[in-house]
């Protein structure tokens, strides 16, 4: 392991405990501090993905497609956010006959909460980091995968053939793309020599090369661009956006697993999807783009800029790229991405073993 000085070895709950003096109340104080920290982070993420996200998505897509989008209520149509929230929550919750009840109700919760949980281990800069376990990277992938369970449950429990097809597609897609995703991430682990998120970030802090006085940091996107591209592609499939939005495929299977969901349940699924895109962006940021690192501005600002940039990228792909067919998607996953990701892993291992170690 390369010697370095960890940037943030103090996670947010400890810091809150320290600042508020909760630390002296023992376990209970720690618990309250942790709860407060989680509350802050969750609200930050919800504000971004649940509140700003749908509005920004409308505006971004409109910009790509020569439209204006929301502009009637409030400046830049911003008040559409509360208006839409009230509208969505006020809708009647229709539960079709014959649905598999507890499963049907649990699925939206699983989808939304699993994505939320992943942010716990993401270092967001300025000490905003809920937990920093040694196995952070594995944990975040494990958590993100739980969403697939939610999708399959929603598809199965809805008692609708389109939902069923969507759920099955979601499972097939996630299996096909999560392996390349994780294998590609493993190549980063070889570089960094650790699974701990804060240390992966720290490992990217050193300058890679200095050109004309500007030093380019050794972000893994620059060190291993091939892995970065692979990871971005697999991530698109993981979050189910074009060209890999096969599980929803509105023109083919109506809305896939979410066909039968309305009102609050629909909001939860929709929120889960947005959170998932942001979580995917946060993982990319952390392991390829140096996490919160950046000049002048505070770390958290850089972190937000980076995840929004990746969000923008998904919306761009959504506007411009056709959807692949399910069999083509599976083929790309198993025959293309899997092979490439293993090639990348082996190559990285050799390079690191021979030249760096």
């Amino acid at each position: 392991m390369v010697g370095f000085l960890p940037l943030q070895d103090v996670v947010l709950p400890d810091r809150i405990a320290e600042l508020t003096g909760l630390g002296q109340f023992g376990v209970l104080g720690d618990f309250i501090a942790a709860f407060l920290a989680a509350f802050i982070i969750a609200n930050l993420m919800l504000a971004m993905s649940g509140v700003a996200g749908p509005w920004a998505k409308r505006k971004i897509t409109a910009a790509f497609t020569d439209r204006i989008a929301v502009n009637r209520i409030g400046p830049f149509g911003l008040l559409i956010i509360p208006a839409s929230s009230v509208q969505l929550l006020a809708k009647e919750l229709i539960i079709p006959e014959g649905v598999d009840r507890p499963a049907y109700d649990l699925a939206p919760l699983v989808i939304a909460s699993s994505a939320m949980l992943g942010f716990a281990v993401i270092p967001m800069g300025n000490g905003i980091h809920l937990a920093d376990p040694e196995t952070g990277l594995v944990l975040v992938f494990a958590i993100a995968s739980i969403a697939s369970l939610g999708l399959a449950t929603a598809g199965y429990a809805s008692n609708n053939k389109y939902s069923m097809l969507g759920g099955l597609r979601a499972v097939a897609q996630n299996i096909a793309y999560e392996i390349p995703l994780i294998v590609t991430a493993a190549s980063v682990v070889i570089f960094a020599g650790t699974l701990q998120m804060s240390e992966i970030v720290a490992a990217q802090a050193q300058p890679l090369v200095t050109v004309a006085g500007i030093s380019i940091p050794s972000w893994y996107a620059f060190v291993n661009p091939f892995a970065f591209v692979l990871f971005m592609a697999a991530n698109m499939a993981e979050v189910g956006r074009n060209p890999f939005d096969v599980p929803e495929a509105p023109t083919e299977i109506v809305a896939g697993y979410q066909t039968e969901y309305s009102s609050v349940y629909f909001v939860l699924i929709y929120l889960g999807e947005f959170l998932h895109i942001f979580l995917g962006a946060a993982i990319v940021t952390t392991i390829f783009l140096g996490g919160p690192a950046g000049p002048v501005l505070p770390g958290i600002v850089w972190f937000i800029i980076k995840i929004w940039a990746i969000f923008l990228f998904t919306q761009w792909a959504r506007s411009a790229l056709p959807r692949v067919r399910i069999d083509q998607l599976i083929e790309i996953g198993w025959k293309g991405m899997l092979v490439l990701s293993f090639a990348n892993l082996v190559l990285t291992a050799i390079i690191v073993g021979v030249f760096i170690a």
Binding site: T61, F64, T65, D66, R67, K161, Y162, L165, N242, P243, D245, E248, A249, P250, T251, E252, I253, V254, R318, S319, A320, L321, P322, R323, V324, R325, I326, D327, Q328
Partner: protein, 556 residues
Amino acid sequence: MSLERPRPDQSYVTDDGVDYDAIEELLGEHVLGRETHINAEGFVIRPDEVQEVLFALRDQAGFDHLSVVTAQEYGDRYESIYHLKKYDDPTQELSVVVPTSKDNPVSQTAEPVYRTADWHEREAYDLVGIEYEGHPDPRRILLPETWQGHPLSLDYDQDRPQIVTLTEHANPIADDHYESESDTMFLNIGPHHPATHGVLHLKAVLDGEQVVDVDPDIGYLHRCEEQMAQQGTYRHQIMPYPDRWDYAPGGLMNEWGYARAAEDLADIEVPEYAQVIRTLGAELCRICSHMLALGTFCLDIYGDFTAIFMYAMRDREKVQSLLEDLTGSRMMFNYLRLGGVAWDLPEPREEFFEKTRDFLDDLPEATQEYHDLITSNEIFQIRTIDTGVLEPEVAKQYGATGPVARASGIDYDLRRDDPYGYYPELDWDVATDDGCDNYARLLVRMQEVEQSAKIIEQCIDVLESWPEEDREIQSNVPRTLRPEADTEIYRAVEAAKGELGIYIRADGTDKPARFKIRSPCFSNLHTLPEMSEGEYIADLIASLGSLDIILGEVDR
């Protein structure tokens, strides 16, 4: 011709067209009598010899295109008319008239000879009540299975309420094709589904994601257009209806379909100046229609409202505003009149010309953008190339026309092959492609947009230099038209979707006795099962999009 195949015997053709006497000789004693329709000779045959006669006409005389089957009821008999044509030369026409008795209206099916007869005969049974012996699927097609009576038959009581209760309907969910041994799944795609381009119901049987069987269920948008036309007077009351068939909008082309048939029936001349305006308007409509086809086809491949859909809509909007300037309407034009058009170009003319030229100048850039965005996209190519394959011979069997046929390498375009309007004077090409797949259909439409632009450009030049004193937009047409009794005509134009034909039988009054619409979408949709069985459900949706059907025209 891009299509190689043995040429049929030329002995049934003279320099003037079909050698009807030679054909009478060919058919020998099958011929009970001959009728003269304005467009072609009609051969009257026995109802139990339909297949024999049609086989002979198809294989020996080369009539490989069954345009439409018209069914009608007379006071003393029922009659099915098979309007035959040749894909090589659609001016060579022939009608086979099959009378059946009142008390036993049974006629032999033509389905083994022409696959397209399947749907046409179902419609004939549904609306008129003729039964076709040996038909593989003798169900109603437009009306519900529980419908009582046949609406276009003479003794049908329109005022009697139909008692079609919900329980009498076959419940689409109940019949699940479920067998414990079978792995297939029955899936209702539509009538409410994002990708059915209207209200279409596809009864699909899936094996996993693959389509085992698909059965289009149409008629949700049936508005009795034929009957309404039969209740309107030739002069003014029928013209608004064609706008409601293909409302993509193909309005002016549809109106021209009616105008052409009625003008030939009543022997009305159209001033050349009006023909140029008609040509201009029809091609504007074609661009509009193809832009919508392109946009919605991509919608099926991309999902949601993506860039390409909005770009196509953006450019279509420009044409719509041109059409609005010309006709005063964006969709339901009602602009053509028998013997001309309703009014001249909008004043100031220079402004209209300039606006049209601006659009034409911007069009190459727009099409290039489409090519950059879609046709050269590799994902788009793997999705569309070699999917939804429609072989040329199959396309002919189903009576496919328009871009669907031309993308299967069938060089068939009525604007050139059966000239009308101002097309023969202009310099343009028929776009064809040998790809036979979804991609080829898209390419053909994109090329046709370019060709239409070329036609419009020339029309604008012609109109601009037209001397002011000769701008005759309407010929003298009697206030009330009463074409001679028992004159019959079938005339077609090349609409955006293909051959749009109108059959009219006059009975001496000012309203048609029978008004039959040959809808190109109807025949094109019939090819869907052939294209998509064995393919993935995603390709079924893409193929449906590539057919560019407008349900208003399918169901009429």
